[in-house]
């Protein structure tokens, strides 16, 4: 992407008027601080880590660290992370879409729509340590909802195997920022469903179900998929919520990496770099798919 843009810039400048050649240094001066900042504090640190992932302690190039990621504990960490991110992304996307459709198209009072969007803006940014506190106060062993369910309905969720510190507890907590993020991103796409399409479908004799299956779902599909992978990346990189909820015990990649940075628990700094490299690869792929799907989706939003 960057390459094509650079060549584009190069091909444009010879055709530009003479004055611009005179001002060329000044042109670039304007954006130099930004590029230096991005280079020193964003790109070089990351590239440094990636390079470190392919070196051994002596500084020689090797694939050993990448291969070492397959040791049972780390492979399990990636697997659990992927599962948590995947499940919370898919559930968050489905529920978020349902809520977006409900408030935009469901015939609910208009003020509910703006209230929902405002709340979603807040809740999608309400992640991290405080969110974990809220869920412990709600569904922890002595949480308000846990006690209510036990005393009023006679359901002891903890004796049924539920725990807020478990896989499903973490997903339930992640949904608190995943669903609102989905609502915030998908609402414009739901808005983009034109009324005329529904009328046209009805004129042609389509049932409600046919309208959904042949018009709504195909139009929303790219936005839906794109946002789902974005939610996946969002959950995959989240550290604070999981750390505050379960402490260092849960075996997921961000927490493993956190422990590694704190105290080199893997006894091999380069393996730590490989762990970080793996995270970049996964979130990078997710974002790549997001961009591709989003491009496809924009066709309908004009």
């Amino acid at each position: 992407m960057a390459d094509s843009t650079m060549s584009q810039t190069a091909s444009v400048s010879p055709g530009a008027p003479e004055i611009s050649r005179l001002r060329l240094p000044l042109h670039w001066l304007g954006v130099t601080p930004f590029f230096i900042f991005a280079l020193v504090f964003l790109i070089l640190p990351t590239v440094g880590l990636i390079a470190g992932a392919f070196k051994n302690a002596a500084g020689d190039y090797t694939f050993d660290n990448i291969i070492a990621l397959s040791q049972p504990k780390l492979a399990a960490a990636y697997w659990v992370s992927i599962q948590i991110s995947f499940v919370s992304a898919v559930l968050g996307a489905l529920i978020g879409l349902a809520m977006a459709v409900a408030v935009v198209r469901g015939g609910l009072p208009p003020w509910l729509r703006s209230a929902t969007l405002t709340f979603s803006g807040v809740a999608s940014n309400f992640a991290g340590v405080p969110l974990a506190f809220s869920f412990i106060a709600t569904l922890g062993r002595l949480g308000v909802a846990t006690i209510l369910l036990r005393d009023i309905f006679g359901i002891n969720i903890y004796s049924l195997g539920f725990s807020i510190f478990s896989f499903w507890g973490l997903i339930l907590t992640y949904l608190y920022f995943q669903i609102p993020l989905m609502i915030v991103i998908i609402t414009p796409a739901v808005d983009g469903l034109k009324k005329e399409w529904g009328e046209a479908a009805a004129t042609l004799g389509a049932t409600n179900w046919q309208y959904w299956r042949m018009v709504v779902i195909p139009v929303l599909w790219p936005s839906f998929l794109g946002t789902t992978v974005l939610l996946f990346a969002n959950a995959f990189g989240a550290v604070a919520t999981a750390y505050a909820l379960t402490g260092p015990s849960l075996n997921i990649v961000p927490i493993q990496l956190f422990a590694q940075i704190r105290g080199d628990v893997l006894y091999n700094p380069n393996l730590g770099y490989a762990l970080a490299f793996g995270m970049i690869v996964i979130t990078g792929l997710a974002n790549l798919f997001y961009i591709l799907f989003q491009r496809r989706a924009e066709r309908w939003l004009k």
């Binding site: 304007g30 790109i43 349902a98 340590v129």
Partner: protein, 264 residues
């Protein structure tokens, strides 16, 4: 059929609302239980009286303010210049501003710890002040996607070229143009980006914790591990701060100009 779909809409909305409101209500109820047998605001009092709360919160507010300043200094001239002179570079800059969404915060800070150690050419981590600066820089990268988008949206609504030419004819230099013409015109957009940055930065845990800074996020985590009712009070305080920031953004957006005189 219409009636049926409305029923489903209400059902979905009701279940969703329960899921979102219940934890807030439960957290509030829990936070009032500090005194045995009756509701009280003791947990809040004990939080506000805690010197560590005051110290860490003040520290995070100061860091947030510097983050916003650095973000504005970095983003406003760049976005302006890209619009005015280097539109071809826009995809590159946009791509860079999206990178912090691709690279998780924990990876960025890991890179910093590796690259800016005491023995490096840029030994940020050698001193406490240097580490503070590095935290501000790290937060600036986290807020970069939001800040850039906000400012760029703001610039879209003004006629950058005409304003610049008019200022130049009157003899203004670049600093004057950016500080006294462009910035006031996109102030609302800049403030939106600033409040969003504030909401992101104020309770941030990962970077502050790994850089060992006495910020609000690590304090929250520490309280959570050591006391029962105060975490709930703190969770609600944090929620209120986030809510406040988002409300300010909404209020500000009402004052923002809707369309450009000449969209470019």
């Amino acid at each position: 059929m219409k009636q049926g779909s409305r029923f489903w809409a209400w059902l979905v909305f009701g279940v969703g609302t329960t899921y979102f409101v219940l934890p807030l209500v439960a957290t509030f109820e829990f936070s009032l239980r500090k005194r045995r047998g009756e509701y009280s605001f003791d947990a809040y009092r004990s939080v506000f009286e805690d010197p560590n709360f005051q110290a860490t919160f003040t520290y995070s507010v100061v860091v947030a303010v510097f983050t916003i300043l650095l973000g504005v200094l970095l983003v406003v001239p760049t976005a302006y210049w890209i619009r005015l002179r280097l539109p071809n570079l826009r995809p590159v800059v946009e791509f860079i501003t999206l990178l912090p969404l691709v690279i998780p915060a924990i990876v960025i800070v890991f890179g910093y710890i590796r690259m800016f150690g005491s023995n490096s050419t840029l030994p940020f981590l050698a001193t406490a002040r240097g580490t503070d600066a590095l935290l501000v820089i790290g937060y600036t990268t986290l807020a970069l996607p939001y800040m850039y988008r906000a400012v760029d949206t703001g610039l879209r609504t003004i006629d950058v070229r005409t304003l610049t030419e008019a200022a130049q004819i009157l003899g203004a230099g670049w600093t004057t143009i950016i500080a006294r013409i462009i910035l006031p015109n996109v102030l609302i957009a800049v403030l939106s980006g600033a409040f969003l940055s504030f909401a992101i930065v104020i309770g941030e845990f990962t970077m502050a914790s790994l850089l060992n800074r006495p910020a609000f996020g690590p304090y929250l985590q520490n309280i959570g591990a050591n006391s029962a009712y105060e975490p709930s009070a703190l969770a609600l305080i944090s929620f209120a701060i986030t809510w406040g920031c988002m409300s300010l953004i909404q209020i500000l957006s009402r004052f923002a100009p809707r369309s450009a005189n000449r969209p470019n």
